[in-house]
Symmetry: C2
Subunit: 190 residues, 2 copies
């Protein structure tokens, strides 16, 4: 997606440790117009998939997921990382590892919001190792919901996540696929 | 706001411990059309305030904040609760207590995304004790940004947060103000 690639070149930074910092428009400060444009692009890509629900994980997936829900006219569900007193006990759980935070945790959703009739579009801001997607797929499997597709804003294509997910048969659409970012130069897959 | 009050009566539940569970449409599963309608209402209320930035705190404020950013045509900034490797060291910090999670923590924003030229609309899903708003106000004060208003989806008006914020001179607009929810019956302030 050209405007996203241009925005990455203009405003993202490459930090030591293979980190792409996109926090001026994607996951700390958010450009809501860009979110809407990306949501429209996901709609174009997945329009024939009869999506009934958008699924993401807190926190930085929520913005793009919410815009997707708006353009798809379906509810958004975000998996929670913390055990909270206002989430019922009747939950699906899956383990998740965060490379960003260097933590192991659990994500959970209330059983009542995902079921066997759902065709789910998983949405997230980044795809690298694929840990978040795998956790969300595990939640869908527990609910017998079908994963109709996976929509990603920025994929680091040299990491394993995208390859594994596509290898497992999932349709993964990433709006920007970074091929490399050596010496701070960001190159996209053509 | 009538459609929000009706939705609360229809789909929210009162749980022991003064908890209003709105997780079917607001803070776990999200109804994005309702988010957009609420954002439009905040726009109507704050249209003359020359808002330059929407500020919220992760995670459940992000959905409504993002829609507000879209209708106000301004960036959204969400304060982070976790120290993360892709947030720079150059941050404003404020303490925050969560009654929901029974935890004390810190919220942080990168200094570069808030400054003395900003007129900030603070947005959150719930207002009860006001801890989240107070933390966000503290961040604005550190940045010398002006708090032009506070927009809340659901206020528990018998708790101290709203009274304290209004007493301190802030303009707080809550789209649904609950007067009481004794014995599971939700009554709104008229």
């Amino acid at each position: 997606m050209k405007i996203l690639e241009e925005r990455i070149q203009k405003d993202a930074a490459v930090l030591p440790g293979d980190i792409l910092k996109a926090d001026s428009f994607l996951n700390h400060q958010i450009d809501p117009e860009l979110m809407m444009q990306m949501a429209e692009e996901f709609k174009r890509l997945f329009v024939n998939e009869h999506i009934t629900k958008i699924l993401t994980v807190e926190a930085s997936g929520i913005a793009i997921a919410c815009m997707c829900g708006y353009v798809f006219h379906v509810p958004v569900l975000f998996a929670k990382k913390a055990k909270t007193s206002n989430l019922s006990e009747d939950v699906y759980c899956a383990p998740i590892h965060s490379y960003t935070h260097q933590t192991d945790g659990t994500v959970r959703i209330s059983k009542q919001y995902l079921n066997a009739h759902d065709r789910v579009l998983i949405i997230d801001d980044f795809l690298a190792n694929g840990c978040a997607c795998q956790a969300l797929i595990a939640l869908c499997r527990q609910a017998s919901a079908q994963v109709a597709g996976i929509g990603i804003c920025i994929e680091k294509s040299w990491q394993e996540g995208g390859k594994q997910l596509r290898g497992a048969g999932y349709r993964v659409e990433s709006l920007a696929r970074i091929a490399s970012m050596e010496n701070g130069t960001i190159c996209f897959l053509k």
